[in-house]
């Protein structure tokens, strides 16, 4: 608004404005230089940090994808061989399938569960603060601890879940050892871990919706579903899009800690997400170039996803204006 107003004020008097710019005093120019210098100094630490710790490593990682590097300083340019290898690598393809399955199931599940929880905890009821805290609590626990806790609870034969199931005649279910169940188990644990965080984001969005809209709708006789469909959902759209973008990025780049602790990518590769595959290639096999190439593909996918989201939201604007 400020920009538009100042343009409007000066728009009809262009030559005069140029004249004023030409007649800037030396003292004013000196002050402007000092302010520019101060701005540069303020920005320098962050810029240097980003350059050294983000931009340069990112460029190096992408470049590394075109080399064979064994981790002992033996570097050899191999062009796109790592990318060609990826296409024919059954391990990579299996990990890609696992990751897509994980993504397609987990993102909608966390989205829906956290939205429902936000709608629930938005209600005025006794102990609601405590309930919100309890639902958020898993998110503040280290994923390593989360993994260990669930490992104990889901242990074959003697874990608490299997003991409970045994009382109703269900025996010998191996939640972390049977490829039929492992990815599903990891998804459920991930939902449990992440739902509190996204619930809080949805809750913030819900609390921004003016209460008058609901009052008016009630007077008009709208039921709960009609109020949700016509008021809550449209006005929650910016929050929902934000959740969708950040959740997708978190799911693609995260999950490593949990997989590392719970299953080690197994059994039979059933939980080998691409992030775990990258780690395995780099640090277990010393295939740094190949790992960098796979990492670059992941970055590319995320960039495309972000670009798509930006396009759908008209340059990152998440509201309807």
């Amino acid at each position: 608004m400020t920009t538009l107003t100042s343009r409007a004020r000066t728009g009809g008097d262009e030559p005069a404005a140029r004249g004023r710019r030409r007649s800037v005093s030396p003292a004013s120019r000196a002050r402007q230089r000092r302010e520019t210098r101060a701005a540069v100094l303020f920005l320098l630490p962050d810029s240097l940090g980003l350059l050294v710790f983000v931009f340069v490593p990112m460029v190096l990682a992408i470049a590394l994808g075109f080399f064979s590097l064994d981790g002992f300083g033996n570097l050899r340019f191999i062009g796109v061989a790592n990318y060609v290898r990826m296409v024919g690598d059954p391990q990579f393809l299996q990990s890609a399938v696992v990751t897509v399955t994980y993504l397609v199931v987990l993102v909608p599940a966390v989205f829906v569960v956290s939205l429902l929880l936000a709608l629930l905890v938005q209600q005025k009821a006794p102990f609601m603060g405590a309930i919100r805290s309890a639902l958020f609590a898993p998110y503040v626990v280290s994923l390593v601890v989360v993994g260990l806790l669930w490992q104990f609870m889901l242990a074959d034969r003697v874990g608490i879940l299997n003991r409970m199931l045994a009382t109703v005649g269900v025996r010998d279910v191996s939640w972390l050892g049977d490829p039929q169940y492992t990815l599903g188990t990891v998804v459920v644990i991930s939902i449990w871990f992440q739902m509190g965080y996204y619930m809080i984001i949805f809750l913030a969005g819900l609390q921004d919706i003016p209460g008058e809209y609901y009052e008016a709708a009630r007077i008009d006789g709208a039921n709960a579903w009609q109020r949700f469909r016509s008021i809550t959902w449209p006005l929650l759209r910016p929050t929902a899009l934000f959740v969708l973008i950040t959740l997708t990025i978190a799911v693609i780049t995260g999950g490593f800690d949990l997989i590392y602790i719970l299953t080690g990518g197994g059994p039979a590769g059933s939980t080998s997400l691409l992030v775990y595959f990258v780690y395995e290639q780099a640090f277990l096999f010393g295939e740094y170039g190949y790992a960098a190439a796979v990492g670059s593909v992941l970055v590319l996918v995320l960039l495309l996803w972000s670009a798509l989201m930006f396009k759908l939201t008209r340059g990152g604007r998440l509201d309807d204006e």
Partner: protein, 452 residues
């Protein structure tokens, strides 16, 4: 008055901020510079997982003391000092500490290495040949089967400090509860599965094979493969030999144990053998000699027994010999001094060197000896009079073969086959053929140390 001075003569806020930025940048870059390795007179670093650490558990305290003593003996007699560096979780192949240190050009001068990692470091040019520093008599003193996986051509690239055979551990209370005695100890695979069936209860697994994918699972599976005469790569011809009846039956052993419901899909008690036996979660478990120390330290009253790995029809008794070795970083700061340190400490014919390994294998740990001279002294000292140590020496060790030193691609091909048959119920024949194809493809372009 300059722009950076305040009217009172002191520095302005801008000047202070500018100075702070400069100081931070200087400190940051200076810090980066210090982290690099260099020949700056600092002690040589010896990375391992024993010392220095403050432990009250007797066996760990003894191992810590042994390492500190070995290093201080060297330091007292030589100008080139060595500093032991304790690396937590070093034995886990997924620990990135060593790999990232080498990748950044700052690997340790001396470190412990397992056969599973040997070729990666050897092929990368990171290991120094220790033979020029050793007396021929000392090289011959190492047990051939044990040293073989650390030798390439004429070079000796690591010196084993211990030998760790795999056997079957069993819980006597669990066996007695199932009406079994020592007379029921199985000698064949079929008998082993039958016994395991009798031992299996809703809470207790009758038989435990390793389930977590990784180098260790492959390590535990190799003896079952070898018993039928199979191999991943023929050590003599260096050709892939994985797709064989021996591999198919060994894969099926792991798969059928799960199918019959006698083996678990995940490790009971998170892999703690002594704890699982004591809690009644497992009755029989394939594991290594290191469990003897684990039982003695953590379940000293528990009544456990050991027996050799049963064999398939027409099979021969075989087990695998694990254990860690000392090696020298060829690109370290002073490889010559580091090599002299390693050889003098555990690889010379001196009385001190031999006695040091005797102490390691019989006092600090319960291990089999890597050298014949050490073996003789342990026998003379009555170490093998202990029934368990005697069993390992007389029955397990003679059937042992050194842990293979396969590169990651081969490890992964074998691991996939094991995992798919064991956990996913895949066909052993199909998986053996698939692994064979992967091994063949790898060998077509492989250029490195021999695969043994």
């Amino acid at each position: 008055m300059t722009p950076s001075s305040s009217p009172g003569g002191g520095p302005t806020r801008r000047a202070v901020l500018g100075g702070a930025v400069g100081a931070l940048a200087t400190a940051a870059f200076a810090g980066c510079g210090r982290s690099g390795a260099g020949g700056d007179g600092r002690p040589l670093e010896f990375w391992q997982f024993y010392a220095p650490q403050s432990q009250t558990q007797p066996d760990l305290a003894a191992q810590n003391e042994w390492f500190l003593s070995a290093v201080s003996d060297w330091n007292a007699a030589h100008p080139e000092q060595v500093r032991p560096v304790f690396i937590p979780n070093f034995t886990d192949p997924s620990n990135t500490r060593l790999a990232t240190a080498f990748a950044s050009g700052s690997g340790p001068d001396v470190f412990l290495i397992s056969p599973g990692d040997f070729l990666r470091y050897y092929n990368g040019g990171a290991l120094l040949d220790l033979r020029p520093y050793m007396e021929a008599e000392a090289v011959d003193d190492f047990i051939g089967e044990v040293l073989a996986t650390r030798v390439v051509g004429d070079g000796v690239y690591a010196l084993p400090m211990e030998v760790e055979p795999l056997v079957m551990f069993y819980s006597r209370p669990a066996w007695e509860a199932a009406g079994l005695s020592e007379g029921d100890i199985p000698t064949t695979w079929d008998a082993m599965l039958d016994v395991a069936e009798r031992l299996t209860t809703p809470q207790q697994s009758g038989l435990v094979f390793e389930t977590t994918p990784g180098y260790f699972q492959n390590f535990t599976w190799y003896p079952w493969l070898w018993q039928g005469g199979g191999d991943v790569v023929d050590p003599r011809t260096q050709q892939a030999t994985f797709d064989s009846p021996a591999a198919r039956q060994a894969l099926d052993l792991f798969g059928s144990a799960i199918r019959r419901g006698v083996a678990p899909r995940t490790l009971p008690a998170a892999g703690d053998v002594a704890g699982a036996f004591a809690e009644g979660y497992a009755a029989t478990w394939q594991s290594g000699i290191w469990q003897v120390a684990n039982f003695r330290a953590n379940q000293p009253e528990f009544d456990f027994g050991v027996f050799t790995l049963p064999t398939p029809p027409d099979g021969v008794p075989r087990t695998v010999l694990g254990g860690w070795a000392w090696c020298v970083n060829a690109r370290g700061r002073d490889p010559d001094a580091a090599a002299r340190f390693v050889v003098e400490t555990i690889g010379s014919t001196s009385d001190a060197s031999v006695e040091r390994l005797v102490q390691w294998c019989s006092v600090a740990k319960t291990d089999m000896p890597p050298r014949q001279s050490v073996d003789r002294r342990m026998r003379a000292a009555g170490v093998y009079d202990d029934p368990v140590m005697g069993f390992f020496r007389e029955q397990a060790l003679p059937t042992g073969r050194g842990e293979p030193r396969y590169p990651p691609v081969l490890y992964k091909a074998v691991s996939n086959a094991i995992q798919r048959v064991q956990a996913a119920g895949a066909s052993p024949a199909e998986q053996a053929a698939e692994a064979q194809a992967a091994v063949e493809a790898f060998l077509r372009t492989y250029d490195g140390g021999s695969l043994v």
